[in-house]
Symmetry: C5
Subunit: 100 residues, 5 copies
């Protein structure tokens, strides 16, 4: 999985029928120091992540292992909203402190 930050949304009305009702978030990947990487992904979201929140993203066929998505043509999904990231016993990110 990768760590990413919610940066925005993508809306598409003319799309594959099985995607109707799916919310698409624009995510930017973060490196292990918490700096944004020049890489982004559009992921389906059923966890309810908000703008600027740090999330955990799964890509590939894993993205279909979410209720209702077994046969959806999606290749990235938000699987969790991150509470904390610790690196070498140092707290890199804490949702309560860093996300207001």
């Amino acid at each position: 999985m990768q760590i990413a930050k919610v940066r925005g949304t993508v809306v598409s009305t003319q799309k594959e029928p099985s995607l109707s009702g799916v919310k698409f978030l624009l995510l930017q990947f973060m490196d292990e120091e918490g700096a944004p990487l020049p890489r982004y992904e559009v992921a389906a979201d059923q966890v309810g992540a908000g703008l600027d929140e740090w999330v955990l993203v799964s890509c590939g066929s894993a993205a279909r292992q979410v209720a209702g998505s077994e046969h959806r043509p999606i290749d990235a999904v938000v699987v969790g909203i991150i509470d904390t990231v610790s690196v070498d016993d140092r707290r890199l990110y804490n949702k309560r402190d860093d996300y207001r």
Copy 2:
């Protein structure tokens, strides 16, 4: 998924039998600022995207989760024509304004 712009088409008549009737679009990936990336993909299209339109692209086994493609050797598919892309509450792209 990735955001891409339709740049052209690829035609192949001598191909795997299961691909007959499939339309192949040449797509160029865009970054989160809307600038073209030096990366492209050839994707099957059943949504009917046109030249210069922004589309949402799924890659890998997700590409077979589209009606009729369950057993086709395709690894990328257009899953939607993009209406809007918003980044940090700023409207990056709007089909009505940007795509004429």
Copy 3:
């Protein structure tokens, strides 16, 4: 899928039993201007592509969606010989003119 040019062949006699009879082509990926990229792939070929021909390549589990390969450990396959590539209404490649 990706656009690639056939650059050569790879022969292996001591291999997984299910691969016997499979032809391996050495392909070099091309960018959307038709220039060779410093990336290559070895792909199984059942379409019969020749040296210097432009082909369409599928990677990942899509490579097993070809008759006889459902249970072969292959991750790339030639799915078609390219006739034309058009970019922005400009003909980038035409097999009849460019491939003699």
Copy 4:
């Protein structure tokens, strides 16, 4: 698979239900000389790897081939704690000597 070093942990409470109870480790990939690469991955861990240990990581659908994870939306998993890595008959890493 890839060789990586355990650098930390990621905690998420608001997540896909099937992920409850899964431990997420933050891993940094190592190159074949044992130097850290600027690439990291968050992987599920059922082997019990500790901070600074070298581990073997599987990505993609392989990550679901672990007991209990068949239908979890995970795309990376720790599959083993590394004892030794040998390159050209030279011992690059030995858990007993290098990991205290």
Copy 5:
């Protein structure tokens, strides 16, 4: 598939139970001129490749299409020992001449 050279081995005793008995080789990818690339992979090997041999490597779910590995969490496997690689009718590598 990719062309790689066997550079070493990785040993792990504390690992997923289904991996017991699997041999892990450390491989370095080669480019189409036969030069080593700064990319390596750890692959399962059932073909019996030796140090410095050139091999053909399959990645992703293809790695589980090998007898006994259908449910193993592996994402890369050696599928063949390479005899020859030809590029533009030129013999780039020949096991008999180059591998002593």
